[in-house]
Symmetry: C2
């Protein structure tokens, strides 16, 4: 009756390495054993060890990579603002090649729902971007993002198939300063199903995000749907460190509209 999960080897390895940091056995500045030494200690091949190290690196727990031996950088796994906001930066930092395919970049009057997300009156011009995101060529996420017109217009001078919209907008001086994220689960609609190559109504991990300037102006709002067999979210908490996210009750939750 009780369903259980098998934890893949690289996740058990990264759990163990995280535990060594969290318990203080490996302190800040500690130089990690070599990949060969870790393979020998855990009796595994290099692949899972590399995946585990990449996970810790993407969390900011260890430094190094590309020749430099990794060292413990801090005790609370976390991602920098840009790594958490940017799929491209996160993917690259985790050892994957990020990819994207643009379905449309459209200027249109904000419908009521987009207007609410962007905090502008309905029918204000807005820009909608719909993209498929890939990891090493595998469809991993569908991104439905809206921008106020003055921000979105910058994208008509950008090849949205070329890489990170976040990095481009930041380079253009768009003052992205903070994000508010709500994580839930949603059934794949026919479009999601086709794009992500999953059955219709398959469960997807959804992150809804509003990105703001320091003064609270909404600069971007997105509905990102991940294949949960490819991407999950991970959190550590402890007696010393407050939990890094909060459960939220959502009666009368966001209702779908087209």
């Amino acid at each position: 009756m009780i369903n259980r999960v098998t934890i893949p080897l690289h996740q058990r390895l990264s759990d163990e390495l995280r535990a060594r940091v969290a318990s203080g056995r490996w302190q800040r500045g500690f130089r990690l054993p070599s990949e060969a030494e870790l393979c020998a200690e855990f009796g595994t091949s290099r692949g899972p060890v590399r995946q585990a190290l990449a996970a810790l690196r993407s969390e900011g727990l260890i430094t190094g990579g590309r020749g430099r031996p990794p060292e413990v950088s801090g005790a609370v796994p976390a991602q920098s603002f840009s790594t958490f906001m940017s799929f491209s930066e996160w993917a690259a930092g985790s050892g994957f090649t990020p990819g994207q395919h643009t379905y449309e970049l459209a200027r249109r009057p904000a419908c009521a729902e987009v207007a609410a997300m962007l905090d502008v009156p309905a029918d204000t011009p807005a820009v909608d971007l719909l993209r498929l995101r890939l990891l090493d060529g595998v469809p991993a996420m569908i991104e439905r993002t809206s921008f106020p017109a003055d921000v979105g217009r910058l994208l008509f001078d950008f090849d949205t198939d070329s890489g990170s919209v976040f990095a481009y907008l930041r380079d253009q001086g768009v003052p992205l300063a903070r994000g508010h994220h709500v994580v839930d689960a949603v059934a794949a609609d026919p479009f999601d199903s086709d794009a992500l190559q999953v059955p219709e109504a398959a469960p997807l991990l959804r992150e809804r995000r509003r990105s703001m300037a320091a003064d609270g102006r909404v600069l971007e709002a997105s509905d990102d749907r991940y294949r949960p067999d490819l991407v999950t979210f991970s959190i550590e908490n402890s007696l010393e460190a407050r939990a890094p996210l909060t459960r939220v009750h959502s009666t009368n939750d966001a209702t779908e509209a087209t």
Copy 2:
């Protein structure tokens, strides 16, 4: 083609209040306007204002409640260790009455999957707890938890329909010190569907958790499945504060087993 979401009023209110804290407009120690003043400012009734304040309180952003006027406590929404680990404590802190119905509390040899979660050899005696959790009487989450035998045996002296297992174990001296959580989405199986009153294969928000002592010993492992229309996870990040959780690539992700 682009699905959008309508943000319910209380969430927009709590977003706005969070933005005032994050932007520094409301600094630490700032005394919030009264409920009546907030109702007047936003042109709403008291219900959404109270829900928004309860959300901020459950995140640790504001103090007060029950007569004391709320004050801004800090700028990073977060939950204490016990609030994040305990469904009961979180629910009560958010203004709901938590409830639970126990399907079974069973001692049995750990199958391979439970053994992997608990980090013990297969067939080691373990204790499995299967409970439905409720918010104000509404089924909200299915909890499948396993314990090493020496921890789980404590539960045979506890009425698991009476409240928080986390609080009970802590009071019994079980040294829960940190948690590792993985959040994804999963389709409701027939049991989930029946218990949570959702269609079979409906998307559920899943939190898999391993709770450990300071030395890394696993004291509890759980697979908690939430109705996403009732509970979501919320995260804030900013240029100043590192993201409080991390995306994790999960190829060869946990595979379901019975």
